[in-house]
């Protein structure tokens, strides 16, 4: 466990250095959030709040939470892991007395926390003060929310390791880089709050793992998921986490059997 913590800590501190990039990200996110919330407000203005699954103020908060946690989503493979696979540096990783899956997971965990923190904190301040991001709905929501976020971070890291693993089969990862963001955007609730989807599609969204990345923490914050529903949603996150880790370990074992390190 200790080396893993060290890896996580080193990478976390390294990633905290990219502050200029984070500021650019914050500006971009504020802009996009403003446009999306304006469009949603216009939709709501014509239809009336009452019959919708979420109130407009809740939807606005949902969108800002999504903008704040934008970099939490598993967008791409870990660039350094890709570099290792391409250059053959993977051999050194295999020599280390650390489980490779755990190593990649720790790296992913750092990648899914430090940049998120840098972007989320200013966004919470700006959106909270000026742009309609509301506080958690209740004390229960405020207490459950960190748990849901922790689940989302772990789930996103497991996704990222799976994406890394695809490098053992196809070094370019082009397909993964085009396909995964599309699925994640749509099915996690980043593009559009999941409660606004048509009723007939919701059962599918409910089962898939993607909602654990965004929708679950947001709706816990809103108090839209509370009590038994919240407990079920958190369990859903952890069940998928276990499944994805098991799948990842299995793929890693298979991938390593066929990996060839070019000498030189």
């Amino acid at each position: 466990m200790k080396p893993l913590l060290a890896i996580f800590g080193a990478r976390f501190r390294l990633l905290l250095q990219y502050r200029a990039a984070a500021w650019a990200g914050v500006v971009t996110q504020v802009f996009f959030g403003a446009v999306i919330t304006a469009a949603l407000s216009a939709f709501y203005a014509g239809a009336g709040d009452a019959r919708q699954p979420l109130l407009l103020s809740q939807v606005v908060t949902y969108v800002w939470l999504g903008q704040a946690f934008f970099s939490l989503l598993p967008w791409r493979t870990d660039p350094e892991v890709r570099e290792q696979v391409v250059s053959g540096g993977l051999a050194y990783e295999l020599l280390r007395p650390v489980d490779l899956y755990a190593l990649w997971f720790a790296r992913a965990l750092a990648l899914k926390t430090a940049p998120v923190l840098l972007r989320a904190l200013p966004l919470f301040v700006v959106a909270g003060l000026f742009l309609g991001l509301r506080r958690p709905a209740s004390l229960e929501a405020a207490l459950l929310w960190p748990l849901a976020v922790a689940g989302a971070v772990a789930l996103s890291s497991a996704f990222m390791v799976l994406m890394n693993l695809s490098l053992l089969w196809s070094v370019s990862a082009d397909g993964i880089h085009y396909l995964v963001p599309v699925l994640v955007m749509l099915l996690s609730g980043q593009l559009l709050p999941l409660p606004l989807f048509p009723e007939w599609f919701k059962p599918v969204l409910l089962v898939l793992p993607f909602r654990g990345l965004m929708d679950t923490p947001h709706r816990v914050w809103l108090g839209d998921l509370s009590g038994a529903a919240a407990a079920y949603a958190l369990a859903h996150q952890w069940l998928w986490l276990v499944a994805l880790i098991a799948l990842g370990r299995h793929l890693l074992a298979r991938g390593l059997r066929r990996v060839v390190i070019q000498g030189g």
Binding site: G46, S172, L179
Partner: protein, 266 residues
């Protein structure tokens, strides 16, 4: 060799290069198309629930969406050299461009014409065609002319933004991510009618970056509607020229930037 023929040579070279990796090209084209399909799916989901946005129907929004996306994808494909200009400055490659007896704008435009944007253009065209048909807009020559003018103005405007972004790189040595708010953010904004937005956003996209002039007024006019905010109808034909004007200003800024260029020396 005149400039146009040289440009055609550049583009031909760039396309041949991109088509060398067929599988990768197909995948990327499919990927961009898929991303934009999902993008429109989100709009469809909202209309499925709410039916209208501030009085506009899905078919009308489809025309706005298609126009904005086609213009942007064309501009992005054409102006890839400017989009990526930060890396050119960083490597010191711009020095080489300056040594050649051709305009820098022509050379940068010739660096790459990105073919895979075809995926997004195709999706935009499909959405547009669907909206156009369901509204029964027909083959009226004036209407088609107005649409072409809007797209031309849109391409000019987006190209202007990309050139300004590149101009800033003379000082920042990096392509600024913040400029994405004007390009991607701009497209995201004008895929709905501009009238639905709060005042500050509207004024920004009319007076600072006149995207509304090229992608809103003409479309309102060709849909045969009047602007809910009371803009006169002649703005439909006049608006797109704001895009050309913007491009002109951007080119002036570019020339100013070149005079202040100092090589990174790498």
């Amino acid at each position: 060799m005149n400039a146009l023929r040289l440009y055609a040579r550049y583009v031909g070279l760039s396309w041949r290069a991109q088509l060398q990796y067929r599988a990768s090209f197909a995948l990327q084209t499919l990927g961009t198309a898929l991303l934009s399909v999902v993008d429109f799916l989100a709009i469809w989901v909202l209309f499925d629930r709410f039916k209208r946005i501030a009085g506009w129907s899905l078919a009308e929004v489809a025309v706005f969406y298609g126009t904005a996306n086609i213009a942007w994808s064309l501009a992005e494909g054409i102006g890839r050299g400017f989009d990526d200009f930060g890396s050119v400055v960083k490597r010191g490659d711009f020095d080489r461009l300056l040594l050649r007896p051709r305009s820098t704008v022509l050379q940068l435009l010739g660096r790459e014409f990105t073919l895979r944007r075809i995926g997004r253009i195709g999706q935009g065209a499909a959405v547009l065609a669907w909206g156009w048909r369901s509204l029964g807009l027909g083959w009226d020559a004036a209407r088609l002319g107005l649409w072409l003018l809007a797209v031309a103005g849109g391409v000019a405007l987006f190209e202007g933004i990309l050139i300004l972004q590149a101009t800033l790189a003379f000082w920042t040595i990096e392509s600024l991510e913040v400029m994405n708010t004007l390009t991607y953010g701009g497209v995201q904004t004008v895929q709905y009618p501009l009238a639905i937005y709060p005042g500050w956003l509207r004024r920004f996209f009319l007076l600072v970056v006149p995207l509304g002039c090229v992608a809103y007024f003409p479309v309102v006019r060709l849909l045969g509607r009047t602007d809910p905010l009371g803009a006169p109808a002649w703005l439909g034909w006049a608006g797109p020229f704001a895009g050309f004007l913007f491009l002109g200003v951007a080119l002036r800024a570019w020339r100013f930037g070149i005079r202040h260029y100092t090589s990174t020396g790498s």
